[in-house]
Amino acid sequence: MKRWTLFIPFAIFLLLGFFLWRGLYLDPKDVPSALVDKAFPEFELPTLVSGEKKSLSDLKGQVHLVNVWGTWCISCKVEHPFLVELAKSGVSIIGVNYKDDNDAALKWLKDLGNPYLFSVDDENGTLSMDLGVTGAPETFIVDAMGIVRHKHQGPITKGNWAPLAAIRDQLLNEVGTK
């Protein structure tokens, strides 16, 4: 046997070690969204506040964040003040109130502020299912053509907003040049 062949097991060990080490820094919850670069699903749902029917066409023509939330969702409460702040700075956010009690949701908006242009009442979770939502909060960045360009799982915070803002700015520029 040649001498170098003795090092094969060590080489395999190093290779495995490398992959396991890389694996430590992967987030298993970071599931790629099936919806990115596809059209936002069709919907027709009443808004929470006025009950007016909204559909996909109400989304088009502008870049929006579509934020899936519910009063039962604790991370949404964490996220909410920052959304209010964003809305004040001119970011247009549309809410999808996911399987929620309407009274509780209205009270939430009244007490904590309403950052949404409008929130649709997705009582049965049909829109959320079409969006592939697995839990709240989830936020989609939708371009002016109604195409989903990015999906963010979990609360948006000051800390993780910067890359999302960059994506949004880029989309805003796309609208500007067209």
Binding site: A34, K99, M129, L131, G132, T134, G135
Partner: protein, 191 residues
Amino acid sequence: MYSIKSVLTSSALLVLFVFSLSAQAIVDGHEYQFNSDDALQNASRAELFRQLAEELRCPKCQNQNLSDSNAMIAGDLRRELYSQVQDGKNSEQIVDFMVNRYGEFVLYRPALNNKTLALWYGPFVLLALAGIIFVSVILARKSKNKPTVVTAETIDKSTEQTVDPLSADEEKRLDELLNSAPSNKTEKEDL
């Protein structure tokens, strides 16, 4: 008076009747009933439901299928799955529905494509590789350990080929070593 026998047969018939019409799948403690008029269809739909609830992964959970998970989304998807099976959708249509929304992550049995080729055939390739290494090692050992007929001639040949004659220096060292060995031994015994 009813005889016991007739009561038994009639209740057996009743049980048979009830179970032949409807079929059910019990998943996570919930019963999902399939009771249309067509008994065969009920059974196949219940089976499809059970099978898909096992094969589809809860998108919120790391490693649970729809039937195992208590997550809200798993419950919703079970209901969706149930209503789609009730509507007579086939396995492919339902799987497409799920993949379009939640991505291939939900498939415990991923589709065979370029991306998943290594996943599907990698283990077999590794197994074949291991087999090849195993066989080659065994063959190498076998040829090495082959008993050779030792004759004066072969010894002569082998020594001629592989062992250089000792130099004068080496002869001297060898002598020293051989002569000192017994004295070492006695010293040890003394201690």
